[in-house]
Symmetry: D4
Subunit: 242 residues, 8 copies
C-alpha cells in the first residue's frame, strides 16, 4: 500500500482534530494541495472563529470561509484584527497570506448584477493560487462589447464565465476560444428564471463544446476548479498584443 | 351593438358548420383575416379530409393542417390530387393557392437539427400571406456565421429565430437588430434539455429586449404571429446592399 | 464589409463607455433604434444614477430603469429633479422626453391585481415610441365585459394581454382579433399557480394562433416588443366607431 | 355501533370475495350505491374476465372496466357475447344493463382531439345513472360556437368540461353558468403542455369560482362525480327552449 | 337569440359598473345565482371598500372578499360597522345577510393545522347558501376517529375534505361514502410537500372514484362548488340516528 | 372479530378525547406502543399546552411536540416548570420521563450544518425508547474521517444518516455496513439543491441496497422509525473493541 | 487499525475479482452479510452469466440479478439449468439455495396492478433471509378489506407497503401498527401521477410516524432493508389467532 | 483590430462552406484548435456523409460525429471504408488520424451500466489530443475498489467521473485528489432518478470543491473539456509506482 493511501486511512491519528462540533482536516493540504474551507452557512460566529484558530494553528495556509453571514465576517475580523479580508460581496472571509500565483484565470461576467458571484470566484481562485483578472458587463445582448475583449479571453489558462437570466454567455465565449470554459449560472433574473434554473439548464446544454458547469451562484466552486486548471498549465508563449 | 359583434354572436346561424365530430368556422376569415387551420393530432385521415372539403367549399382560402401524421398527409394528397403540398418536415399539408404576400419574415435556425421546426414556421408564414426567407445553421458557437448575415437580419419585418439546446440564438440576434424577434425553442438536445425546456426557459429570460416566445417546436404559431406582423408593416426604405 | 457591421466590431472605440462597474452602450440607438435600459435589480442607487448621467450625456433619448427599488427611484428623482417620472407600480423610472408616437398598442389586463404589470408594459411601450391605451379588468369569468370592448381590441396594431391565475385571456382575445397578441403571465395567484407558472404554460399552449409569450411579470419586455410592432405598422383605415 | 358501520367492519365475512389475485367488493353497492369498477391497467384479459364473472354473479349491476387494453376488451366481449359494450375510445368496457337515469350531465369538449376523454366521461356518467348529453368542439378560440350553446350549458345539473392545451374552457364556461363545473384536463398538446400539466394547472387556478378538477385524461373519475351530483339533484323547472 | 344570451351580450349597458380600476358585475346574480366575490390580493383597502359600497348599492346579496390582508379587513369593518364579519382565519370578510340555506355541506379536516382552510370553505359555503357542519382532526393516522363519524359523512349532500402532507384523507373518505367528495389540498407540511404539491398530486390520483380537487389552500373555491351541489340536491330521507 | 380490532372501531367511546379543536388519542399507546406526538406547526401555544395537559392526564408516557415555534416551546416550559426539555435545535419539546432504552441507534451527520436535523432524530429516538449515539461531521469529501469510525457504524442496530447538498453519505455508509440505513436529506445547500431536493433524490437512488429515506429535514420521522427497529432487535454479541 | 478496516483497504488483493467489464465483490458477504446482487439493466446476457459464474465460484450464497431483461433471464436459466428461479414479474433471477429464514416480513400491496413490485420485494426479502408473507389488494378505497387483516399486519417484524396512484396505504397502515413500515411507491397510475411521483411524495409526507420510503418501483431495495430488520428482530411472543 | 478578430468577422469569405443545409466551419481549427464535430441527431446519413467529405477536404484533422444513429454510422463506414472507427457505444464515429497526445485524462465510471457514456468521453478525449485511461466499476457502494486505485486517480491531469443513480462518485473522488474533476451524470437508474436528474443535481451540489459538471450522458462534452485541460498541463514529476 503506497504511503499516501496509508496516510489516508490512518487519518484519525493525525489527519484531523475533533472540536466536538466539527472535525477539522489539518492535513488536507497534504491530500489536495488546497487550504481547508469552512462552509459557514448554519455555523455560529463562535464556531467559525474556533475553526479558523484551529486551522491557522496547524499550518500557514490561509483559512477561508464561504457563505458567511455579516455576523460571522465581523467575528472573524475581530478575532484576527488586520489579517482578515473579504471579497466584494462580503460573504467570503479569509485570514492568512494568499499563496504565490501560477497561471491565469479570467472571470467574465455578463451583467453588473452578476458581480457578486464573479467576485466570489475571483477571490477564491486567487486564494487557491492562480492569478486572476476580471472582465465585467459583456452580456450577449451587446455583442460588440464581448468581441472587443476577444483576444484577452483566449489568453487565459481557464475562463470562469458568470451569467444569469438566459445564461447564453458561456456558449458564445466557448465558440470564440480554445481554453476550458467554466460556466457559473446566477440567480439573477425573475419569473421563469426560477432562481437560476434557466441559466443552469442553458449552460448544461451548451452547443459549444468545452463548457463545464457549477452550481447556481457557486463562485467558490468555480474558483477552486479554475485555479487547479490554471496552476497546472504550462507557460503559454507570449502573445502579440492587439 | 356594432355589426361585427352582432355577427360574432349570431355565429351559430352562419359562422360555422356542424360536421358532427367538429364545428368548422366557415366565416373565420371575416373574424381574423386568416385561413382556418386544422390541428390534425388525434384526428383520423377521413375526418381531416372531410374538414378540408368543407373548408374548401366555403371559400377560396387555402385549407391547412398541422401535426398531421403520414397517413393524414397521404389521405389529403389523395383527396386533392395535385393541389396539396407540404412543408419539408412533412407534418403540415395545405390545399389551395397561398395568398399574395406583403412584408418579409426571415426564419433563422441555429442548427440543421432545427430545420423541421424552421420549415414549419416558414411554410405557415407564407400561407398566412408573408414573403419568407430562411437562414440556417448560424448557431452561437460559430459567431462569425451569424455576423456574416447581420445586415439581412435587420432588414426583415419580423424575425423568427429557432433554436434548441441552450436556446441562446434569439438573445444574440435581438442584440443586433431593431425588428421584433419571435423565438421558437425546439426539443433538439438531450439530457437536461428536458424536451426543449432548457431552450424555452432561456428564451423567456432573454436579456435582450424585444423577444417574445412560442411553445416548444411550435413553428406553426410563430409563422402565424410573424406573418401578421409582417403583413401589417409599412414599406421599408430600400437598404444599400452590403 | 458593410459599414454597419464594421461599426459593430469597432464598437470598443466608439460604441460604449467603460464606467468600471458597467459598460454603457452610448451608440445603442444606432443599432436598435431604442433607448438603453438599465436593469436596476442588484444595482445601488449611486450606480444607477451614474449610468443615467452617462446615458443622458451621450444623446437625448430618455434613460430608463426597470426593476428599480424604492431607493433607486428616489435617488434618480433627486438627481434629475422634475425630469424623472415613474409608472404606476413605481418600479420603472425614466428621465427625458418620450419620443413622438406612431402606431397604437392596447394593454389589456384580466384583473385589477394584474395592473402593476400592465402598467409597466404601457409605460415601456410609450417610452419606445408607441401610442398606448389600456383596458382593465376584463377577465374571462365575466365574458360580457370583454365582448363589450371587442371592436377596440381589433383596432390596435398590437395587443399586450396580461393575466395571472389560469392565464386564459390571451387565448380568448386571440380568437376575436386578427392583430398580434403578446401574452404576459403574471405571478398573481396562489397554490398551484407556482408563481405564475400556470399562466405561463397556459399562454404557451394557447389553442388560438397568433399568440407569443413574455416572461412572468415581464411588462417591460412586452412593451418593447409591442412598440416595435406598432411603430412599424402601416396606417390603418379609420374604423367606424361602435 | 350503527348497522352500516358494523357491516363495514364485518366485511371479511360477507363483503368481498378473495380471488387470489384480487379481493372483489361484492357488497360495494351497499356502501356507495355505485357498481364496482375494475382498473384494468396491468391486469391480464383472464384476470379481468374472472373479475367480471364474479361481479356479475353477485348482483345485477353492470360490471365496468377502465384503462382496458384492446386484448382485455376483446376478451370481455368474447366472454359475454352480445352483452358487452364500449365507449368510443374503446378503452372502457361494460357488461350489464345500465341503471335508469336521473338528472342530466352535459359533457363539453374543447376540441375534437379531446373526444376520447369526453367519451369516457359520458360513458361512465351514463353507467352511474345520469342522463348524458355531449357538446363538442367549442374551444375558446371560437367563442361564438360556445355562446351559441350558452343556454344549454346552464340547464344541466352538472357540467363536465374537457380541454387540453391551455385548458381555458372551464373558466369561460364557469363564468357563464351557475351549475357545478367539473374540469378535466387532457394530454392533448405538445411541447410545454408537458403531457397535460399546462391544462391541469390552468384549471386548478381558474379565476371563476365553482370549478373542481380531475386528473389528466380522467374521464372516468369525472363521470362518476358528475353522475353523483346529477342523480341527487332536484327536478329543475322546465326551461323555455331557445 | 334567447333572452339570457341577449342580456349577456348587452352587458355593457347594464351588467357592470366601471369604477376606473375595476369593472363591477352588478348583475352577476342574474347570471350565476351567487354574490360577486372580490379577490382582494393586491387591492388596497380603499379599492376594496369602494367595491363593497358599489356591490351593496346594486342589490342586497352579501359582498364578500377573499385573500384579504389585515388592513383590508380592518378597512371593511370600519366602513360597515357592525355589519362585517370574518371567517376564523381572518382572511375572508363579508358584509350583508347570508342567504337562507338549502342542503348540507360537511367540511372535514385531517389535522388542526388545516383548520384555516377548512374555515374558509365553511364560511364560503354558508355565504353561498348551504347549511354547513364541520368535522375536524380526523386524519388517516388515527383511523378510528374517522370511522366514528362514518355515518355523518354519508348523510351530507356534498363533502369538502381538507388535508395537507400526504393528502390521503379524501381517498379514504370517498371509499366510505356515496356523496360527491371535493378534496382541498393544503400547504401544511414541509420538505418534499413542496408547498402542498404532494397533497395536490395525491388527491388528483385518488384510487377512489368520486373525488374532484381544488387548488392548494383554496377553501373558497371548494365552498362555492359544494354549496352549488348542496343547494340543488333533493331532500334526503331522514336517517336513523346511530 | 379480535379484541384489538374491536377496540379500534369502538374508539369513539374510549380511544380519544375531543378538545373541540383536536381529537386526542388517549389510547394510542395501546395501538402503537409509542407516545402521541403533537405536530405543533400552525397550533397556538395555548392549544399545544392544552394538548399536553390532556395527554399527560391520560397516562404517564411523555408528551412530545415537533415543529414548535419558540413561543410554543416557551409556553410548554412555563406550563410544566422543570419537567420540559428540548432538543438542540429548540424546535422539539417534551414533558415526562423518557422510557427505558433497548437497542442502539447511531445518528451520523455529514456536516455541522446538518446538526439540527440530526439532533431532532436523536432526541426522538431516545424518547421512543432507543439508546442513541451521534457521530458528526463525517462527510464524504473527507473519507478518512468516515473510515475512522467504520467499526462503530456496523455495531448499531439501526443507523440514521443525515446529509444535505449531494446526499452521498448514506450510499457510502450503506456500502460499509450490514445494518439498516435510514437516510435523512436536509435542506442544507443552495442553488440547485432546491431546498433539499438534490439530497432527497440522491438518497432515493442509492446504489447501495439497504437504504430507506425520510422526508427532507424530517429528523423526527427517522427517529421514530429507527427506534422501532432498534427496540425490536436481538442482543448483539459483544464486538471486540477496535 | 482494526482488522475489518484493514481488510476493507486491502480489498484489491482479496476482496474482488476484475472481470474486465466489472469488479466482482467476492468477499462482500464478509462486509454486509448479504449476497452480491447484479444490477442487470444495461448488461448483456453474456456479461450477466459471466458474473453469475464468478459469484457462484467464490462461495455458496445465491447469485441474484435485478432489472433483468427477458434475454438475460433466459441466458441465466440456460447457464444454470434447473437451478435458476425468478419472481412473478420475471425481472429478477437467482441461482443457489436461499438462506434459512429468521423473522417475518409482510408485503402488503394496494392493488393488483402493484403485484409486480410487491413480488420483487417478497422475492428479495426471502433471498436475504427473511420469511415472507403477502397481502394483496387492500387499497384504502375499500377500508374493510384492510381492517380485516389488521392483526396480521401488526404481527410482522417489518412491513413493506406497496402502492401507486395517491400512495395513501402506508399512512393508513402505519396508523394501525407499531412495527416499522417501509413504503414503496409504484408507477401505477396515469396523468398527474407522473410516473409514480405522486405516490412518492405522498409517502415521504406521511402524517403517521414510522414510515420510511424507497425509490419508485424499487421492490428490491425494500426487500433488502426489510429482511435486515426482520432477521435482526427478537422472537415475538405468540399471538392469539383471530 | 487584431488579425484573429478580423479573421473572425471575415469568416463568410474563408471560414465556412455553405452546403445548403449546413454551414461547415472549415477554419474552426484556427479558432479553437479542435476538429469540427457533427451533432448527428436529426441529420440523415447522406447529410452526415456530405459533411464528413467537406470537412475532410478542408484539412487533415479527423471528422467526428456524435449522437449518430446506426444508419449514420453505417453510411460513414461505407463512405470511408477502413478509415472510420467508433467508440464502444457505437454512437460516435470518426474518420482520420487522431492527433498526437499530450497529458493524461482518466475516465472513471461508477458501474458497468455507465460504460457507454464513459466510452464516449474516452473516445472524444483521445480525438481531442489527450492520452486516455479508464477505470471502471468503482462505485461508492464498494469503497475498497475505489481506494485500491486511489494513487492512479491523483496522477492524471484531469479526471472524468461518470455515474448514474445517486451520482455520489465525483464527490468521493474529489475528496481524494487535487486534480480537476469533471462529473458526468448518466441516465442510468429508474423511478426517481428521472432520467439522470438525481445524479445531475447531486453532482452540482457536491460538497467537495473542484467539481464541475456536464449535461446528462454528455460524454462528448466531458471529453472535449478534459482534453483541453490535460493538453495544456505541465509535465508532472514521475510518481513512484504503487
Amino acid at each position: 500500500m503506497d504511503e499516501a493511501l496509508d496516510a489516508l486511512v490512518r487519518g484519525p491519528a493525525a489527519g484531523y482534530a475533533d472540536l466536538g462540533f466539527a472535525r477539522v482536516d489539518t492535513h488536507r493540504g497534504l491530500r489536495t494541495g488546497d487550504p481547508e474551507v469552512v462552509f459557514a452557512a448554519g455555523k455560529t460566529p463562535a464556531q467559525t472563529v474556533a475553526l479558523f484558530h484551529r486551522l491557522r494553528a496547524s499550518g500557514n495556509r490561509p483559512a477561508f470561509a464561504t457563505r458567511a453571514s455579516a455576523d460571522v465576517v465581523e467575528a472573524v475580523r475581530a478575532a484576527f484584527p488586520g489579517a482578515a479580508y473579504t471579497d466584494e460581496s462580503g460573504t467570503c472571509v479569509a485570514v492568512g497570506e494568499p499563496p504565490a500565483t501560477r497561471g491565469l484565470v479570467r472571470v467574465v461576467a455578463a451583467g453588473t448584477s452578476d458581480a457578486a458571484v464573479a467576485g466570489e470566484a475571483a477571490f477564491t481562485a486567487r486564494l487557491f493560487g492562480a492569478e486572476v483578472e476580471r472582465i465585467d458587463d459583456v452580456g450577449v445582448a451587446g455583442l460588440h462589447r464581448l468581441l472587443a475583449v476577444h483576444a484577452e479571453l483566449d489568453s487565459a489558462d481557464c475562463l470562469v464565465v458568470v451569467a444569469g437570466m438566459e445564461g447564453a454567455l458561456p456558449s458564445v465565449v466557448a465558440g470564440l476560444v480554445s481554453v476550458p470554459v467554466l460556466a457559473v449560472p446566477t440567480s439573477v433574473g425573475y419569473g421563469a428564471s426560477f432562481g437560476g434554473l434557466s441559466a443552469l439548464l442553458a449552460m448544461l446544454n451548451s452547443c459549444a463544446p468545452g463548457v463545464a458547469v457549477c452550481n447556481i451562484d457557486n463562485g467558490f466552486g468555480a474558483g477552486v476548479f479554475a485555479a487547479r486548471v490554471a496552476r497546472a498549465a504550462r507557460e503559454r508563449p507570449t502573445r502579440t498584443p492587439h
